[in-house]
Amino acid sequence: MRVPVLRQGGCLIASVQDALTDSDLRDLQHRLAEHAGESGVHGVVIDVTVLDVIDSFASRIVSTIASTVRLRGADAVIVGIQPEVAFAMVQLGLTLDGVRTALDLDEGLALLRGPGDR
């Protein structure tokens, strides 16, 4: 299922709605790389609250998205990783080093606004 990407102010919000296939993840990666370069975009939030598994492939794509978005001049934050999902990820050795995370969408957006920003 294609992940909808919405724009809110200077942020893009990719809100995962359902389980994702590998091709859905690759599609999201390409679209976010594209849109992160649009004028005025300074941040990207990927909301993975509904994902009940993040395996090595998904984790690699998420890291790639975060790095790509940064190279395109914006910041990326992953929000909503569930406790069981986090536990399984750590056991798999998938710690998303260097990727910013926040508990939920509100905190993710706050993180992107940063202190002193509007």
Binding site: A19, D55, S56, E84, A88, Q91, G93
Partner: protein
């Protein structure tokens, strides 16, 4: 309750892990263990697709010592694994991936065995036991 899932495309990986999770829930596994099992199944299902192109995941409940266990068997007729120890090494991959698939699945499950013959195929059998008494 036995459940066979043919793996021929990436949609089947999603099906396999969701069936694994459902079966784990039915057997009374904790939410954490349901996720852990689904993640392990996802890794071995992807290995089938990446290395063999197609294969099958079979999920079956098992009872032992008054507990329920879930057995997942991933089988394919792919090229086989020449060096199983190496394939189980963290970070080793011949497919340009992270190389956490088999070693990660082994950490997530209580047991993981590999039976492989070069040119004939690979069977990975893994099991996780519920902490609750059946």
């Amino acid at each position: 309750m036995e459940n066979h899932i043919a793996i021929t495309g990436d949609v089947d990986i999603v099906t396999a892990r969701s069936r694994a999770k459902d079966m784990a829930a039915e057997l009374g596994f904790s939410r954490t263990d349901q996720t852990v099992i689904a993640a392990a199944v996802s890794e071995v299902a992807r290995n089938i697709l990446v290395y063999a192109g197609s294969g099958e995941i079979c999920l079956q409940p098992r009872r032992g010592n008054g507990r329920w266990g879930l057995v997942a068997v991933a089988s394919d007729q792919g090229p086989g694994i020449p060096d199983i120890d190496q394939a189980l090494t963290e970070g080793y991959s011949t497919a340009g991936s992270l190389g956490v698939g088999l070693s990660g699945a082994r950490r997530l499950m209580d047991s993981l065995e590999i039976d492989s013959e070069v040119g004939r195929g690979t069977t990975v059998t893994m099991c996780k036991w519920s902490h609750q008494r059946a």
